[in-house]
């Protein structure tokens, strides 16, 4: 009886896994076959790279890749800067008004940048950042989530190390840079992975603030390329989709363990 239920459960788990991965497998299949072979599931049909060739020529993908790469880099550098300073102040310094400001920061966890698109668009235009990568990245830089994460990480650093560095004549910024930042490396790594995959995949905000191929990230480029008005067929859309998810997907498959742990650390702590 016990054995039987074990088999049933294993079968269910694997069936669910197959269902879950199947959209990706079908797109993979379609990307390497001609449209008619793809939709007829002709298993004997030959594999082809034509779809990739057509997709690649259909849009400035290299530019899109570069834009996305620059965007996630800009966002990450900005986030490290703002959240390190603020996280340290919240974790290790005492000053009047600290708790009140901390509650304000926590509130921002719920004021989603996605919801404020109308006024953030006005703000970015006012700052002259419309259709620039900075305009896309800026609203995410002082992330409340990141500040919170850094605060947690800095809090766990023993005060003895802080005192020791101070006795050695290190200033406060020096202590932050030489003691706290190196000790928080795992947190930085985790935060970086979460941040990169979030912004690599972000769509709505970049759609609003970009208006030219020179700034458009991959997700927006892909949505324009695949728009039904353009009449692209399913194999070519699949090829373009596979192309644009490939870097992150391959990175995920290679560094699976780190990835999952990064998400865990970022979410739970």
């Amino acid at each position: 009886m016990k054995r039987l239920s074990h088999y049933v459960e294993s079968a269910a788990a694997i069936l669910l896994a197959v269902i879950w991965i199947s959209p990706l497998l079908f797109a993979f299949w379609a990307a390497f076959h001609s449209t008619s072979d793809a939709v007829n599931f002709n298993l004997m049909s030959s594999w082809t790279l034509d779809n990739f060739r057509v997709a690649w020529d259909g849009a400035p993908w290299l530019q899109y890749f570069l834009n996305t790469f620059l965007l996630v880099t800009i966002v990450l550098i900005g986030q490290f800067f703002f959240t390190t300073l603020a996280g340290f102040a919240f974790a290790k310094l005492e000053f009047p008004g600290k708790n009140f400001v901390f509650i304000l920061v926590l509130m921002q966890l719920f004021i989603l940048p996605e919801v404020l698109i109308v006024e953030n668009y006005a703000m970015v235009s006012r700052l002259g950042l419309f259709d620039t990568l900075f305009g896309v990245g800026m609203p995410y830089m002082a992330s409340a989530f990141g500040i919170f994460l850094m605060r947690q990480s800095f809090k766990s650093v023993p005060i003895e190390l802080h005192e020791a560095a101070r006795i050695e004549g290190c200033g406060l910024l020096g202590i932050l840079w030489r003691v706290y930042v190196p000790l928080a490396k795992p947190t930085y790594l985790a935060y970086a992975l979460v941040s990169v995959s979030t912004h690599w995949n972000n769509f709505l905000w970049p759609l609003i603030v970009t208006n030219s191929p020179e700034t458009r990230p991959l997700t927006v480029g892909l949505s324009i390329f695949g728009a039904p008005e353009n009449g692209v067929d399913i194999s070519i859309i699949s090829a373009a989709t596979m192309m644009s998810v490939a870097p992150l997907l391959i990175a995920f498959l290679v560094f699976q363990r780190q990835f999952v742990q990064a998400f865990l650390r970022a979410g739970i702590k």
């Binding site: 459960e9 788990a13 694997i14 669910l16 896994a17 959209p23 990706l24 079908f26 379609a30 703002f82 300073l85 603020a86 102040a89 310094l93 005492e94 009047p96 008004g97 600290k98 400001v101 920061v105 926590l106 509130m107 921002q108 719920f110 004021i111 989603l112 996605e114 919801v115 404020l116 698109i117 109308v118 006024e119 953030n120 668009y121 006005a122 703000m123 800026m138 609203p139 830089m141 002082a142 947690q152 995949n201 769509f203 709505l204 609003i208 997700t219 892909l222 949505s223 399913i234 859309i237 699949s238 373009a240 989709t241 998810v245 992150l248 990835f259 999952v260 865990l264 979410g267 739970i268």
Partner: protein, 297 residues
């Protein structure tokens, strides 16, 4: 001595505020000021070429409440939340329990569950397009094997929202599974052993021991899932564009459409304020009732 303490205090205050100010400035510019400005502009009429905008009080809100599309979109979004939140949490829990037990091909199973999380919503929508396309799509072909007629999943009001819901669940269940997996690994082995000695069935053990211990995680995931039911709308742009006849339109998409397709910022602002109020209520519930120590210590 007290002078020294005072100096230290002042030094900390100065450093504290200096270090906080860059982030505070950014948060003010991109979160607090826009929230206020949204509220402010929701009180004014739309600026047109013939008529400059003027103060109209709650007129925009009244317009929204009188607009049948608004109510349809709210209803859609409530339905979207009512299905995606519990179902994705339930599936995530099942996934975590399976991925944590001794089953064959566990590595593959875990990877398969989690993979949708690293894909952009836009790409996910493209993948699903292949499933939903009438006639040629995978779903229709499977249906045809069993003799069902072709269904235009995305093109008819009865199924469009369901098609959207399914993609959302597919996308977020694996993400939530990770949190359950982490929580499961903190449950000591002794409990299982004790339960085995007592001859407790696995079902009882799961229900009476594991689920209660997972409660804080469930609440955390619940809040995230609720926020996601506002946030996850990217796939609408590819799959349905809110149609047919608004049957799959969600609030955030409607805000976008009002502001950037119809150029009606004041009404979009009013709707934004309504969404923010709901989010604030969710936040208040989280801070007041949920176990702070679990996640905010």
């Amino acid at each position: 001595m007290s002078k020294h303490v005072n100096m230290e205090r002042r030094r900390q205050a100065i450093y504290g505020w200096l270090m906080l100010s860059p982030a505070a400035l950014m948060l003010s510019v991109f979160a607090f000021y826009p929230s206020g400005a949204t509220f402010f502009s929701s009180l004014f009429s739309r600026h047109t070429r013939r008529k400059p905008s003027e103060f109209t009080g709650l007129e925009n809100y009244n317009d929204l409440f009188a607009d049948p599309t608004f109510w349809l979109v709210v209803k859609n979004n409530l339905f979207y939340a009512a299905i995606t939140v519990p179902v994705s949490i339930g599936i995530a829990l099942a996934m975590a329990l399976w991925a944590n037990s001794k089953i064959p091909a566990r590595g593959f199973v875990r990877t398969a569950y989690f993979t949708p999380t690293v894909l952009p919503m836009i790409a996910a929508a493209n993948l699903w397009l292949f499933f939903y396309t009438p006639g040629l799509g995978v779903l229709d072909q499977i249906g045809a094997l069993f003799g069902f007629a072709s269904v235009n999943w995305l093109g008819q009001p009865e199924t469009a929202l369901w098609a959207i819901i399914f993609v959302t669940i597919w996308k977020e269940a694996g993400f939530f599974m990770i949190f359950y997996l982490a929580a499961l690994q903190t449950i000591p082995e002794d409990y299982k052993e004790a339960a085995d000695i007592e001859g407790t069935s696995r079902w009882t053990y799961t229900r009476r021991i594991v689920l209660p211990l997972l409660m804080p995680t469930t609440l955390f995931i619940l809040v995230n899932a609720m926020i996601n039911s506002v946030k996850l709308i990217d796939h609408l742009f590819i799959l349905t564009k809110g149609g047919p006849s608004d049957a799959s339109k969600l609030i955030l998409y409607y805000i976008w459409e009002m502001a950037f397709a119809f150029f009606d910022a004041p009404h979009a602002a009013a709707l934004t304020i309504l969404v923010l109020s709901v989010l604030c209520i969710v936040a208040a519930i989280q801070f007041l009732y949920l176990d702070r120590r679990t996640h905010y210590q």
